[in-house]
């Protein structure tokens, strides 16, 4: 890939002064620096990850044994709803925007993101949205309790917590659209001389595709929830059959957003994994061009498969067949990516630092999630599995072992660049192995629960589901506690530790490693020239 020649490293330090910026909290409120904003995104998303995680543990505690012990059904439904909304919109999406902010300018040799002030605004819209979501638990009637998919007419029955969720989604949507416009513009316009599109690191490519997906689908979600809002308060009947509407219309609109959305949360992870696998295999990425085409194909296909989430709604047979075939073909570019990663490792000189462990864990578990996705794509089989724990297991294999593991891989990979210190490798490995084992303990058994017929989103269950639920709950607590290791490791790494060289990984390639560690406040004010 790219071989960078840069000017002397000395030109970074001269600009590393903060004299022209306010100090204290005002620095963070007014900053337009991509690194500051990237850090804020990452901290915000980790905080939301813990909040959403506590909700998950509340859910799992109630499901530890049959009967109602900890929470009542209404509150349980609020937990599942907020857990989903917070993890998708508050944790995973902002985490990858944080990575993009930090790494894209460094990787393409730009001095900052294209729109500094918009960048600041798109971050600072997140805390109010998070506040709306979390405080909705305390308003009369409680938080939204219709599931993160917000299907009407159930949403029409809810209290003001639903309106707060709708406004939160509006704000989060505007924020992600602005973030994505910024990212796409930065990639298209601010690349260093010689950094052609097909020389870009894969992380840039995956974010470019993701940014277009976000810009395309977030307005659709905003439209869907706005229609819900007007149905609730202004007498419209978009989703009310009595007024000529159709409840299933919402599902079509929602999943036309929702399916690209699930790729939005995983595609940037593909980019991180590609770079990490190549670095620790000490070998260039196999099939760079086919990787790019596969990501683009997955992005385009994601718009054509939405109704596979709706096989049991009573779609016509022809529609079921079409959506089944279209969905199935996504397995082809996804398979290409798995094969390419395997071929990258083949014949390499492999070491297994924490980022590599998370990357291999990602491939291993994401493939399981891909296979269960293929099973679910088969409409005749899906009828048995739709809305059961099999689906819950499937999307946690793609979202947790997929998106979250790739975020961990990226975090460990770039922590030395961000902090200037090496993280504690042993603790990182323990974090990986605990996450890996407890993740499977939590979610693998849920496949069995789903096959046996346990519906999702129920606060209590029949006795035959008791044993696997117990295992799953114990695993969930193990998984949750393991994440505190990561937090501790990061804090220790920020405060001190072994000095990191500019390029801590000997197999790494890319412009970000030409910048000293920690990356100075301003980088690439003189653009490098890429040969």
């Amino acid at each position: 890939m790219n071989t960078a020649t840069t000017t002397a490293h000395g030109n970074f330090s001269a600009h590393d002064d903060h004299g022209h910026e306010p100090g204290g909290i005002m620095r963070w409120i007014t900053t337009t620096n991509h690194k500051d904003i990237g850090s804020m995104y990452l901290w915000f998303s980790f905080a939301m990850f813990l909040v959403g995680g506590c909700m998950a543990l509340t859910i799992r505690s109630e499901l530890f044994q049959p009967g109602l012990q900890i929470v009542q059904p209404e509150f349980f439904n609020q937990m599942t709803t907020l857990h989903g909304l917070i993890m998708v919109f508050g944790a995973i999406m902002p985490a990858f925007v944080g990575f993009a902010n930090w790494m894209l300018p460094l990787q393409i040799g730009a001095s900052d993101m294209a729109f500094g002030r918009m960048n600041n605004l798109s971050f600072w819209m997140l805390p109010p949205a998070a506040l709306l979501l979390t405080t909705s638990l305390f308003v009369p009637g409680g938080a939204a309790a219709a599931g993160w998919t917000l299907y009407p007419p159930l949403t029409i029955q809810q209290g003001m917590g639903m309106d707060m969720a709708i406004f939160a989604i509006h704000i989060l949507g505007i924020s992600s659209i602005m973030g994505s416009i910024n990212i796409a513009t930065t990639i298209m316009n601010l690349r260093a001389p010689g950094m052609t599109l097909m020389k870009m690191p894969l992380f840039c490519w995956t974010w470019l595709v993701t940014a277009f997906l976000v810009i395309a689908v977030m307005p659709i979600l905003a439209g869907a929830v706005t229609m819900t809002l007007t149905d609730r308060h202004f007498g419209t009947s978009f989703f009310n059959a009595a007024g000529g509407g159709d409840p299933v219309l919402f599902q079509h609109i929602f999943w036309f957003f929702g399916h690209p959305e699930v790729y939005i949360v995983i595609i940037p992870g593909f980019g991180i994994i590609s770079q990490v696998i190549s670095t620790f295999s000490r070998k260039p990425l196999f099939g760079y061009a086919s990787m790019v085409y596969a990501v683009a194909a997955i992005g385009v296909l994601s718009f054509t498969v939405w109704a596979h989430h709706m096989y049991t709604t009573g779609l016509p047979l022809t529609a079921q067949l079409y959506f089944m075939y279209a969905t199935m073909f996504i397995a082809v570019p996804t398979g290409v990516k798995i094969f390419n990663w395997t071929a990258t490792m083949w014949g390499g000189s492999l070491t297994f630092e924490t980022p590599m462990l998370f990357a291999i864990g990602f491939i291993f578990l994401f493939t399981i999630g891909g296979f269960s996705g293929l099973v679910l794509a088969m409409a005749a089989v899906d009828v048995q599995m739709q809305d059961t724990y099999y689906v819950v297991a499937h999307f946690h294999y793609t979202m947790v072992a997929g998106a979250l593991f790739s975020a961990f891989a990226g975090a460990y990979y770039w922590l030395p660049k961000w902090t200037g210190h090496m993280y504690n490798e042993t603790m990182g490995k323990v974090h990986f192995w605990c996450s890996f084992v407890f993740f499977n303990m939590t979610f693998f058994v849920q496949h069995f629960l789903g096959l046996a017929g346990m519906p999702r989103r129920i606060p209590d269950y029949a006795l035959q589901f008791a044993d696997f639920n117990k295992i799953s709950t114990l695993g969930a607590f193990g998984f949750g506690l393991s994440q505190l290791l990561f937090l501790y490791n990061v804090i220790v790494c920020i405060r001190g530790g072994e000095k990191a060289p500019a390029k801590p990984w000997d197999g790494a390639e890319g412009l970000e490693w030409d910048v000293p560690s920690p990356a100075p406040h301003h980088t690439w004010e003189v653009q490098p020239v890429v040969k």
């Binding site: 049959p66 070998k283 049991t312 082809v332 094969f339 499977n440 269950y461």
Partner: protein, 380 residues
């Protein structure tokens, strides 16, 4: 470096765990596959799923066999140079084309199964299943048993859910009135809902069909053996989504005919004489039963409700106010809340008795009586 040996160890452990669990499959508590099929279609789905598992399993072992070989053999060692290759057009075309072919092979039997699954024609018996928050209503609308209708409500006692008494064998999978169908006959189920979306799901039949308010969907099954089959609502429908199971009794033709006759006789006996004038104790007794079946999930047996979503009836303005307002609310419901329009679900006698009950139970001592004849005149 020790990480990868550890990894192999752990993945072996994991594989062992999975195999161990599979070996447990005879034990119902650790059931790791579909429920035992009771229809031909469910057998087909079971086999399709197994086929997919085998194909996926082989691919999985193949891909990760290569990767783990690499992890073991291609690790960094003194003097080891990593290869420099990074593309191979032939290989890349092969691993695009071969998966496509595998997918085409896979999808053919699934297509056939789907086509037969969606064919609900030629039914012997047609039953409408209506989802309510939170129970199912069944109307036999065509074939033997036509005209039978009843509601099917969770019969697990609250004390079991709260853990005050031991849980029964069919905890949360038991209802007061079972759906009864004859063995070997094609049964078409029309689904719809009164309030929000529900989903009619019986795993042993491989049947799941959403029940969408305002629309009718259909699905069908032909049970090939007798027995009792249990399922649950599969679409989140509010507070008691987890508490509206489905129980189907598949019986022999003779037993079915006997059941139909019994139901018809029961319905004739239970039909209320519209001219009858009820006494307070009669209405209270009937009203309590109706209340527990239809109202207690939200408003609670104590009448205290679960404020603010589900208001208390004990001492409420409606239940202690004029009769007209109380009747209007129960008959027409309250749009935008979970309060359904019970005029569509209950008979006049049931509504009259439950309103009388609510006005005279707990701390409410109105002392007045609502007669069935008053319901029609007070409804909107």
């Amino acid at each position: 470096m020790s990480g990868s040996t550890q990894k192999l160890g752990v993945s072996r452990l994991f594989a062992g765990l999975v195999l161990g669990l599979l070996a447990y499959s005879a034990n119902a508590a650790y059931q790791v596959n579909f429920q035992e099929p009771a229809t031909k279609l469910a057998h087909t789905v079971y086999d399709l799923h197994m086929m997919m598992m085998y194909i996926c399993g082989v691919i999985f072992v193949g891909v990760f066999g290569v990767m783990f070989y690499s992890i073991v053999k291609h690790r960094k060692a003194p003097g080891r140079e990593s290869a420099a290759f990074h593309e191979n057009t032939t290989v890349e075309i092969l691993w695009t084309v071969i998966p496509t072919i595998i997918l085409l092979v896979m999808v053919w039997p699934v297509t056939k199964a789907l086509v037969s699954m969606r064919d609900a024609t030629g039914a012997d018996i047609t039953i409408k299943a209506t989802g309510y928050q939170w129970k199912w209503g069944y109307d036999y609308i065509k074939g033997e048993g036509e005209g039978i209708k009843f509601k099917s409500v969770l019969s697990t006692p609250r004390e079991q859910i709260d853990g005050n008494v031991p849980k029964g064998e069919h905890y949360l999978l038991e209802v007061d009135n079972h759906l009864v169908v004859p063995v070997g006959k094609k049964v078409r189920i029309l689904t719809t809902a009164e309030d929000v979306i529900h989903s009619w799901f019986v795993p042993a039949f491989a049947v799941k069909q959403d029940a969408v308010p305002g629309f009718i969907r259909d699905t069908s099954f032909r049970a090939e053996r007798e027995g009792t089959f249990r399922g649950q609502c599969a679409e989140l429908c509010g507070k008691d989504h987890g508490f509206m199971p489905i129980v189907v009794d598949v019986v022999s033709q003779e037993k079915y005919s006997a059941w139909v006759a019994e139901q018809k006789a029961k319905m004739a006996a239970a039909a209320d004489d519209p001219a009858k004038v009820w006494t307070l104790p009669e209405l209270m007794a009937r009203g309590e039963a109706v209340y527990l079946q239809n109202c207690a999930a939200c408003h609670q047996p104590t009448g205290k409700g679960l404020p603010p979503a589900f208001p208390a009836l004990d001492g409420s303005k409606i239940a202690t106010g004029p009769k007209e307002g109380h009747i209007g609310l129960v008959v027409n419901g309250k749009p935008g809340t979970a309060m359904a329009a019970f005029g569509k679900q209950l008979s006049d006698a049931e509504i009259a008795s439950v309103i009388t009950y609510e006005r005279n139970a707990w701390g409410n001592k109105m002392g007045d009586i609502v007669q069935p004849a008053e319901i029609k005149s007070h409804a909107k």
